[in-house]
């Protein structure tokens, strides 16, 4: 279709933050009736580019044309005037208000505010595109996916016909993702222009008509999705040929290392988070934990690491000679005092694993500052460790004095994993170790986990991407609603089987 007219043309867009060139002379076309995927590694400038289209940032250089006319967009409100709406990764909703109130908030419509009429209009939009949302429900009562729906409806309510979604699936379960994709396809049929920012290859293949690729802030090119494949897109994104196979060496002499049995955890409100969970993680193996997010993964790892109060059960550490030590009911210091080196890469990297405002050596010091009898900290050791991690894991940072919050997601994770494996652990717990990471960084992390496995470490890998779990792990424990719904061999399990176990205990019986 060479004659079709782009709805949006961005020409020569440049945006510089301090010394970082977030976007450099980017040209991009967006068409109506098409789903465009913007693909790129972390820090390649995808979100910045779209923020300029939606009025959050203002470009340093370059022009934006809408329907062929040059425009200036300097606030989100102006973007709405041009029919551009963006759904951000972090929702911008008022918790104590209903969906309707949130949707009309900030709109200056003629006449009196009529919430009933607004709710009616919202229902019409929902019906037209197949959304399921109750206009009178308060935001705090909603699930993550419902909140996202409200954000999308909000944008449609304002008459947007160019929708930008920033990594919309990062917070969704596979089923919710399917539902979202179906809605997006309906909108495409309706003639809307859809832009989805992602770095998940299979989503690009699944959903998009066309894919535009950014690399280090520059526009590499675009491809029709049907004419390309994951390998080609990855190579363009990274800038060189990348292998997409995950290594899975055979476990050498596996011995039971962590024995979890009858583990039951309730949260502060008394809600059952883990229900009689039991499994064994062995040395020299990667044990995968699969499940819909919120099925008890966080509580499980934190219980093992001594951070989560438990109701009953036992977590036994078994050393090389077969001696058992109970870990439950001990805090991280007491566990370390037992001589158990247990490393933990938590889900919340900057909120739990690291301190964002501290520099690299300060973050290394978190684990080592207690060493020695002196009242003062040893600053040389963490400094050297920071240098070593930067060098060995190829962390991209201006220096070891840089606060870690300034690093990109992948580099933050390298710092965290680097510190955790530096203590030569015998057990390594990881939660969503590659969440938000681009392909390159993800593979670095898989390699690091495999190295630990070869060293004889019992690695626990909580993951969300089933393909990765099935390729990387030796054994997979599937959690469903806080219960173990199945334990499978990673080499023989298939994706459907795991998917079913994730939603139903035992995989067979219906709810």
């Amino acid at each position: 279709m060479p004659e079709r007219v782009p709805a949006v043309q961005m020409r020569g867009i440049t945006k510089i933050f301090g010394s970082v060139r977030a976007n450099y002379r980017v040209n991009l076309d967006i068409y109506k009736g098409e789903i465009l995927a913007i693909l790129g590694e972390n820090g390649s400038g995808k979100t910045t580019l779209m923020n300029m289209l939606s009025g959050i940032y203002f470009p340093d250089e370059g022009k934006i044309f809408i329907d062929g006319k040059e425009v200036t967009i300097s606030s989100p409100r102006e973007a709405f005037d041009y029919g551009i709406g963006m759904i951000h990764q972090h929702f911008k909703l008022v918790d104590v208000m209903t969906a309707t109130e949130n949707i009309v908030l900030g709109l200056h419509e003629e006449g009196k505010l009529d919430l009933v009429k607004a709710a009616g209009k919202i229902r019409d939009i929902c019906k037209a595109y197949g959304f399921e949302v109750d206009p009178d429900k308060k935001i705090y009562e909603m699930s993550v996916s419902e909140k996202q729906t409200v954000e999308i409806v909000k944008v449609l309510y304002r008459g947007a016909d160019i929708l930008i979604l920033d990594e919309p699936t990062a917070v969704l379960t596979p089923q919710e993702t399917d539902k979202l994709f179906a809605v997006l396809r309906t909108m495409r049929e309706d003639g809307k222009a859809i832009v989805i920012i992602t770095h998940k290859m299979h989503e690009v293949e699944d959903l998009s008509d066309r894919v535009a690729i950014l690399r280090r802030g520059e526009y590499v090119g675009d491809l029709m999705t049907k004419d390309t494949n994951a390998q080609e897109m990855t190579d363009m994104m990274v800038g060189r040929a990348v292998s997409l196979n995950i290594d899975r060496p055979d476990p050498v002499d596996p011995k039971p290392r962590i024995e979890v049995s009858g583990l039951t955890v309730r949260d502060q409100d008394g809600i059952l988070k883990l229900d009689n969970v039991g499994f064994t993680a062995s040395s020299g193996e990667i044990l995968g934990i699969a499940g819909i997010s919120g099925s008890g993964q966080k509580e499980l790892l934190e219980a093992i690491a001594g951070l989560q109060p438990t109701e009953s059960g036992s977590v036994m550490f078994i050393d090389d000679d077969g001696n058992k030590k109970e870990l439950l009911g001990k805090d991280p210091l007491e566990i370390a005092a037992l001589g158990v080196t247990l490393s933990f890469v938590p889900e919340d990297r900057l909120g739990m694993g690291l301190v964002g405002n501290m520099d690299l050596s300060g973050n290394m010091m978190l684990r080592s500052y207690r060493r020695g009898k002196s009242a003062f900290t040893d600053r040389l050791f963490p400094k050297n460790l920071a240098k070593q991690v930067v060098e060995e894991l190829e962390v991209l940072t201006p220096g070891i004095e840089t606060p870690v919050r300034r690093l990109s997601g992948g580099n933050v994770q390298k710092v965290l994993v680097g510190r955790e494996i530096a203590s030569a652990p015998s057990v390594l717990l990881t939660a969503y170790a590659v969440r938000g990471l681009d392909i390159n960084s993800s593979y670095t992390i898989y390699d690091l986990l495999n190295q630990q496995k070869k060293r004889g470490v019992a690695v626990v890998y909580v993951g969300e991407d089933l393909d990765v779990l099935l390729e990387l792990c030796d054994k997979i424990v599937v959690l469903c609603g806080g219960k173990v719904s199945g334990i499978l061999d990673g080499r023989t399990a298939d994706k459907n089987e795991v998917g079913l176990l994730m939603t139903r205990v035992g995989g067979g019986e219906k709810e």
């Binding site: 967009i73 300097s74 991280p332 009242a375 003062f376």
Partner: protein, 362 residues
């Protein structure tokens, strides 16, 4: 739909990082602009010539040896309170109870002076007074800390309310110990024997200044290099991280507030035993709150607080002189101080953000 939009005149963007020279350049510029604005306001409102205005201001703070010593003492006292608040602030524990902790330390000191005054040898008496002041301040800060650690109560309100309790306690004991009866004042304690008075070395303020100088360096080392100082920073940044690395958060909160309160108590001791030799309910005189600003301006760095406390004391001494020399209302000094602080605090905005102006039409 296609309303025409123009590019706005000014854009804001967050700066990444600024070289320290530029950072201080901006601050210096802010002070210069502030002084100019002050002069303009003064000239317009009062008709005083601006050069004389600045001369009076400097003379008010540095003019005579006595003024310089007063400046030093006032700075030392303010700095001492700021040092006390800093460990708590670094932990994101907003201790606004400096006033109360000072008063209660002063009350303990006074009690020792009056009750044990002429019964103990001087060194022993002073030692007991110091310990009593430290303990009283520590207890006063520990109560909110304990409740914060156990039940996560709001420390800002709690410490603030403790101020009123301390003030009322002092008011009560001032009546109990009043001299002469019915005056509602304690008067100078042990005036004849000088029991429990800090000895004078050189100048009567020198010892206080020395104690605070040593404390400043000690606090800097404690916060920057010690294990406990590191724990304070970690708890302040993220309690989840602290628990994750095995720090007992409630223990750190209580320990840190014991230190914070104890130093406030020490300030109370220095005021009563070192300079005032009496107790009034206005002994702290709002310095517990001014110290909050001193600590913030210096970004909780004890060495930087030497400068920020000096600046604030200079401003108040200087503007007091202006109001008295030119016979102005006392509030005029506050207006000047306000203008200067406005610029200093406002300059932080330009350190964090950059302005882009619309380019001329092409």
């Amino acid at each position: 739909m296609n309303r025409k939009h123009r590019e706005p005149l000014i854009h804001l963007s967050k700066r990444k990082e600024l070289a320290w020279q530029k950072e201080w350049g901006i601050r210096l510029l802010a002070i210069v602009i502030a002084l100019i604005v002050c002069a303009v306001v003064t000239v317009i409102v009062t008709g005083i010539d601006p050069i004389g205005f600045y001369k009076t201001m400097v003379a008010g703070a540095f003019g005579t040896a006595r003024r310089r010593w007063t400046l030093g003492k006032e700075t030392a006292v303010l700095l001492c309170i700021s040092l006390a608040l800093t460990p708590a602030f670094r932990m994101r524990f907003w201790n606004l109870g400096g006033e109360g902790q000072i008063l209660i330390g002063a009350l303990a000191t006074t009690a020792c002076m009056i009750l044990l005054g002429n019964k103990l040898p001087a060194p022993l008496l002073i030692l007991i007074m110091v310990l009593a002041a430290l303990a009283a301040g520590a207890v006063w800060a520990m109560l909110p800390a304990l409740c914060k650690a156990k039940w996560n109560t709001n420390e800002t309100l709690f410490t603030l309310m403790m101020n009123y309790v301390a003030t009322q306690l002092c008011a009560y004991f001032i009546i109990v110990w009043e001299v002469p009866k019915g005056s509602g004042k304690i008067g100078i304690i042990n005036q004849s024997t000088e029991a429990g008075w800090l000895p004078i070395i050189g100048n009567r303020y020198l010892l206080t200044i020395l104690v605070v100088a040593i404390l400043t360096i000690a606090m800097y080392i404690y916060l920057t290099y010690s294990k406990q100082g590191f724990e304070i920073s970690v708890v302040g940044e993220s309690e989840a991280t602290a628990r994750y690395v095995g720090i007992k958060v409630s223990k750190v909160i209580i320990r840190t507030l014991l230190i914070s309160g104890a130093i406030c108590g020490l300030t109370g001791f220095l005021l009563v035993s070192g300079t005032d030799h009496t107790l009034t309910t206005t002994l702290a005189g709002g310095k517990g709150f001014t110290a909050v600003m001193v600590a913030w301006l210096a970004k909780f760095n004890p060495l930087g607080m030497v400068l920020s406390s000096l600046l604030l004391v200079f401003l108040s001494q200087g503007s007091a002189e202006i109001t008295s020399i030119y016979g102005l209302n006392q509030s005029f000094g506050d207006i000047l101080t306000g203008i200067i602080l406005f610029f200093i605090i406002g300059s932080e905005f330009f350190i964090n953000y950059r302005l882009h102006f619309r380019k001329a039409a092409k």
